[in-house]
Structure formats: C-alpha cells, structure tokens
Subunit: 116 residues, 2 copies
DNA sequence: ATACTATATGCGGAAATGTGCATATAATCA
DNA sequence: TGATTATATGCACATTTCCGCATATAGTAT
C-alpha cells in the first residue's frame, strides 16, 4: 500500500508526468530535462528526486552530469505498471509534443558532448 | 493530461484507494463506506466526491441513501485503466482485508434493508 | 591551487490538501 | 405537521506541497 500511494502521488503532478514522458523517450541529465520542459534547475532536480524515490527512475553520475533513466528493475512494481501505462498515453498531447521538440533541440546543440 | 493528473491525484491518498477497493467489491452507500473504513461521515462523503469528480465512481439516490458504485462508462479512460489495475492489486493488504471484514459485517446487520 | 559547471538542498512563502465539527439539505416516518 | 435519518457542505486549522532564490557540493578544466 505504501508503494502504491507513493507511486500515485509521484504522478499526481503534471510536471512529473512530463518528466517521465521525456525519460520514456530517452535518458537525460538534469539540464536536458530543464530545457525540455523549460523549467528551473531546482524544480527539475527536486521532481526528479521524487520520481526516483517513488521507484520510477534511477540515476548515475557521468562525469559532471547526473543521468536519469527509467528504472527497469525497480523495487516498486506499481511504478513499473504505471510507467508502462504512461508509455502509451498522451500520444497527442500538446505539451508533451512541445517537450519532445525542445528535448531534441537541446540534444542537438547540447553541452552533452563537450565533456564526454 | 487534465484527466490523467486528476485520476492520479484521486488515488494519491490511502483513504480513497481503500474506498475504491471496497467499491470494487460491492456498491455501497456512504454509511457503509464509513463503517467499512471506520472513518467519519464527512471524511467518507468528501473522498467519495473526489473519486466521483475524477471519474472513478458514480452515484444514484435510493430512497434515503446515496449509493456509490464503480462508473463503468466513465468519461475518463485513465480512471477506467487505473481502477482495473487496482482490481488486481493489494490482494493481501492487511488494511484492505480489515475493510472488507467490516464491510460484510455492516452489510449483514446494516440498516440497508429497512427502507428498501 | 583557482575558476567553472552541473546538480542538490536549506529556507521561506503561497497555495492546496485532508480532516473534524457544526450545520444545511433532502427524503422518510409517525 | 414535526421528528428522524442519510448525506453534503461551510468553516477553521494543521499539515503538506510546489516553487524560487540562494547556497552548498562535487567533478572538471586550466
């Protein structure tokens, strides 16, 4: 029950749904999430933390960046189900589309390659 | 997106998950929900209202009672998916078990039959 | 070493949430 | 009619949430 409530709570906020939709497309560092959603750094970081705590995503350090990605082996089976459900949802959502657009732009010109 | 967030928000609270699990067993009036979960009347009523607003359940008057039940033809397709997911979840949850126990007791001795 | 970059986090404030208590509403009963 | 029962709702309050701002931390570059 704990896990279930936590999973639902994590998705009860539009920002986090948008983040998860982006990460379902592609793993990202924080600054890519910021650019994709056009939000502040602390906002991105905190919401990523909440999604991670709920078991939706995991993070690894890669040089200067922290890369977030879907946690396929999550301990929270509810998170797994819900992420899978989200995969097929909001296919024609305007915001989601814009996020994807901004993401590909960020990736194209991104600072990502500089330090690799 | 609106509907999606609303559906998740509705389930981001243990009380409402418990209510939904009870209603997945059996349609109930408010006083049966109160007894099943052992909560106050206003608490039951308000949380039922939130679930109804999110598209999970519907209500009809039946004499003196308002009977709540799963809304099978809900406009919110996300609510439908999530309710279906919940149907198979928490099968061995302690609280859910107790709620079910209290519910059957309430139904057995319930005032439900008086006015029918 | 210093400077720089990416990320996390403490703090404060505005808003939203969940609840109990009391009261309003509505249907039924006598 | 008035009394009773079931439910909804206004109000107040404590708690939580979400965010921005500023700062701390950690890795990298020079």
């Amino acid at each position: 029950m704990r896990n279930l409530v936590k999973a639902f709570r994590a998705l009860s906020c539009e920002t986090r749904i948008r983040i998860l939709k982006v990460l379902l497309e592609r793993e990202c560092c924080v600054c890519e999430i910021m650019q994709a959603l056009d939000i502040s750094q602390s906002r991105a970081s905190r919401n990523l933390g909440i999604l991670e705590d709920a078991g939706f995503i995991k993070s690894r350090r890669e040089g200067l960046w922290i890369v977030y990605s879907i946690d396929e082996q999550t301990m929270n089976k509810y998170a797994a189900s819900l992420a899978e459900m989200l995969r097929g949802s909001l296919a024609n959502g305007e915001i989601i589309y814009q996020d994807r657009e901004r993401l590909s732009h960020a990736v194209r010109i991104g600072p990502r390659a500089i330090h690799k």
